[in-house]
Amino acid sequence: MVQLPAYAALAVPILLGATALVLLTYDALSSRATGRNELLGMSGAGILASIVVGVWFLATGVGDPDGRGVFRLFEAQVIVDQLSLFFGVLVASVTFLILLASYDYVAEHTYQSEFYALVLLAASGMALMASANSLAMVAISLELASLPSYVLVAFLKRNRGSVEAGMKYFLIGALSTAILIYGVSLVYAVTGSLLLEDVAGAIAGGVGDANVGILGLGILMILGGFLYKTASVPFHFWAPEAYEGAPAPISAFLSSASKAAGFALAIRVLTVAFPVETVVDPGLVDWVLVAQIVAVVTMTVGNFAAATQDEVKRMLAYSSIGHAGYVFIGIAALTAGGNNNLLIGASLLHLFVYGFMNTGAFLFVSLTEYWNVGRTFEDFNGLATRAPVASVAMTIFLFSLAGLPVGGGFLTKYVLFAGAVSAGFWWLAAVGAINSALSLFYYSRVVKAMWIEDAEEGFEVRSQPLGIYAAIVVAAVATVALLPAFGMLSGVAFDAAAAVLP
């Protein structure tokens, strides 16, 4: 057996990035326009390889301190542990679904190979975000994920909504990145290091009373950068516009994979560099309190705004903000010496299941865009009689998002609530519960439109795009299967959570 070089541990982001480069090279060299079959074949092979490698690594104990050990590469700038592999598999899986759906969605567009390559590059950046072990890597991987995303949101360049969304996303993104980098510089000024572990060590060693304020400001600004990436209040304003204007597969990509990667960063940086024990408890900076406020406000704003929307895609955009709030419960209820493994594990679990159910819901919207069904709830009336398979899948996604036991989203949400209760934050769980009940109301509006309302005349299902259908069915099967397979997934998630906890 050949001993793989150490950097092979980074195979997931490397494979994703390399596939993008191969696509671009092939497109440049090939004499005629590259066909979509070749594009999907090449990118699909690359993504599947990265998923297989990621799962294989997880199964064989790469990144497990008791297995093959945690890999720290490039002077420990990059780390490969169970957490990064967990998010790597998640991002790659979502990307696979997105590209499958894009096969039909961008079939009519020029610049197809660029579309595929940009998605892959962004995915590579997201996978790298989960491996970032220094504040410099945080900024770099964040940019690698963000820059292609700006272009992708504005990909429909003749569509005013898409271009406007891209512009808005870019401006707020640039501002947020600037805030994040300024925060990084402040933390560096106080602690003298960019490596997360060294930052924690410097803080534990004492930073001096005069510097506490600077450190606090730095931490809050870094947190602001994460809030932007996870589309949490108050840095959420870009999200509804971007998700609504972007091509629907890209909305799915941003609201699932990009959000998960943002949480990967937030979880690692907050727990490793600024642990509760040495930062919050001695009273330096109470970022847990900030996270609590963010969780409550994000859940509430996201869900209440979603309840008042008239358009399905916009409702899903706001519900995606609400789900960021649920995931934040896991961070907001951290305590020194508490059962933090349950909390972080619950957040990871929810992000994983969310990756499939939310992607599936947005892909259903992309199916309706493909058919020109219309955007409002009323336009969805009677869809179930015309597209029963896709409607069953959409019902599974929506009910799972709402927290009914047709899919894994049911258990993960309740594990989050249970974790908050166990940490003594029953009121966080209560706010989550109120929001969850409200979400049932607006998710079921779509279900009602599809199944209960009578269809209006107007459109016909012209064809059944194979790629989108395949992606939706795969996402639905995964969402349902994650309920019985919860035991298996939870084991992996809790191992991953243990990687960033002392």
């Binding site: 059962n339 009914l404 049911f410 258990l411 209760v421 934050f425 519960a433 009602k448």
Partner: protein, 517 residues
């Protein structure tokens, strides 16, 4: 394995029926529902459990497999049956099969979806009554909502959309409240429990007398138990439903198609009282005794207020729906009495009311199939054209009123005997007397409704001739009526095992009860 096999076969049946063509979906669903029916009959004949499932009794058909780990708690696929759950399982399978047959006439669109959902709901209901791990139980508990939402929303009456969403959100909020209350209690127990296994939690609380730690540094052990009890009580009371959280029920019932009403009243409401018995009264008996008076007030209020609401209705279906609230009040009264007859009678009343209210909804449905009206004022003398159906109506109504030799009599008799002799409930005799007054009102509205609709000279404005109901409509009525009489004549068929499972509540718990201990 029999429980897993039943759940799996019922679920597979629901998928097969869902995909089947409409022409024979109803017949196919009937055949598919015979599998769990036969299975539950076999379970009844082979039942060898003893004692209470939560209090260390020996379970029948038990299965316990590790499923998932939530550090530091483990979740198990733990199912099993005792003398309390088995009668409810039989009730579920019997009513589902009969509800499917009763749907053949009224349901004429999207049939395969309808029957598929009914079978899916049966799977979830069987899961609720067999699961013994909280998380597994909660999965099934919430899963029941999904098919019911569609059954009301798609096949319901004119205001079906409103009724469906009201049912959906109302009961979901209740579940969330209950969930938070229960997990707070479990986490408060700390090291005393290491899983969400209901028997383990119940024994830690009720047998070993484990006191939860102070929660979150502010709430003391006693307060935590009280708050958890209240959260769970409210959560389950919505399902029961008890006054004043009953308002979703009339809407849901009136709009639901008849077969869904049968299952809603017959089985879904029993989930609430079953959970009250399993959680509140088994795990926290001392709190239940402390709160006996307010709970008894809720019970009596449900009995009296529900009955008077029924008295005020003009719609036959609404009358039956409100009378369910009244009947479920008896169940709560029996539970809070904390005597063998009270709690055993309450469990027996769950089964009995499931059969009788199922019968009443079916009869009203059969009449509606022919007359297309349910309004008391619209018709009279229906017995003239539909003598058999009217006969069953009268028999079912007398069952409701508690005619001896019918199961309603046995159930109410047990409950009243038990609550009259309660030693933990202050002023038990007064509460019992007040609740008994409810029967008078029941007799009042049922006799009044029958007199106006069934008897007297025939009068109904229709442009077609009202004929007798078809055989497939009438046969389920007789099947149910037969069961009601059998249980009335020989209540021991169920009451023996119920009593055996109720008794440990007094023998093995820390609660020092004068009557039982």
């Amino acid at each position: 394995m029999i429980i897993e096999a039943l759940l799996a076969l019922t679920l597979i049946g629901s998928f097969v029926v869902f995909l089947a063509p409409d022409e024979y979906a109803g017949r196919l669903a009937f055949l598919a529902s015979l599998v769990p029916l036969a299975g539950s009959g076999w379970m009844y004949s082979q039942f060898d459990g003893a004692g209470n499932a939560l209090l260390g009794g020996s379970l029948a058909f038990e299965e316990d497999v590790a499923w998932a780990v939530l550090e530091p708690y483990s979740i198990h696929w733990h199912v099993g049956v005792d003398g309390i759950s088995l009668p409810l399982i039989v009730l579920t399978t019997v009513l589902t099969t009969l509800a499917i047959v009763s749907a053949w006439t009224p349901i004429d669109e999207r049939q395969s979806q309808f029957y598929g959902l009914v079978l899916f709901m049966e799977t979830a209901l069987l899961g609720v009554f067999t699961a013994l791990d909280f998380i597994v139980w909660f999965v099934f508990w919430e899963a029941v909502l999904v098919p019911m939402y569609f059954l009301i929303g798609v096949w319901g009456g004119p205001r079906r959309k409103y009724a469906a969403i009201k049912f959906f959100v109302y009961t979901n909020v209740a579940s969330l409240v209950m969930f938070i209350g229960f997990v707070a209690l479990v986490f408060g127990l700390g090291d005393a429990v290491s899983s969400f296994d209901l028997p383990a939690i119940a024994q830690a609380l009720a047998v070993d007398g484990a006191e939860p730690d102070a929660y979150a540094g502010v709430v003391g052990p006693e307060t935590l138990k009280l708050l958890s009890f209240l959260a769970m009580f409210v959560g389950f009371a919505v399902k029961v439903p008890a006054v004043p959280v009953h308002t979703w029920l009339p809407d849901a019932h009136v709009e639901a198609p008849t077969p869904a009403s049968v299952l809603l009243a017959g089985v879904l409401l029993k989930m609430g009282t079953y959970a009250l018995l399993r959680f509140n009264f088994t795990m926290l008996p001392d709190v239940a005794v402390d709160l006996a008076v307010p709970i008894a007030i809720v019970a009596v209020l449900s009995v009296i207020y529900g009955a008077f609401l029924a008295l005020a209705q003009q719609d036959l279906k609404r009358i039956v729906a409100y009378s369910s609230i009244s009947s479920m009040g008896y169940v709560i009264l029996g539970l809070v009495a904390f005597t063998t007859y009270g709690m055993g009678g309450a469990t027996f009343q769950m089964v009995s009311h499931g059969l009788i209210s199922g019968l009443m909804f079916m009869v009203v449905g059969v009449i509606y199939n022919e007359t297309h009206t349910r309004m008391v004022g619209d018709m009279s003398g229906v017995a003239d054209r539909m003598p058999v159906t009217a006969g069953v109506f009268v028999a079912g109504a007398f069952g409701y009123m508690g005619l001896p030799l019918m199961s309603g009599f046995a159930a109410e008799f047990f409950v009243f005997v038990g609550s009259f002799g309660s030693e933990t409930l202050p002023a038990a005799k007064l509460f019992t007397a007040l609740a008994m007054f409810g029967i008078v009102v029941v007799a009042g509205y049922l006799l009044f409704a029958m007199q106006r609709t069934l008897f007297g000279p025939y009068d109904l404005e229709t442009d077609y001739e009202i004929g007798r109901a078809p055989m497939q409509d009438v046969l389920p009525l007789f099947a149910l009526l037969a069961l009601i009489v059998v249980l009335g004549v020989a209540p021991e068929a169920f009451f023996g095992m119920i009593r055996d499972s109720i008794q440990p509540l007094f023998d093995s718990t820390t609660l020092a009860l004068g009557g039982g201990a």
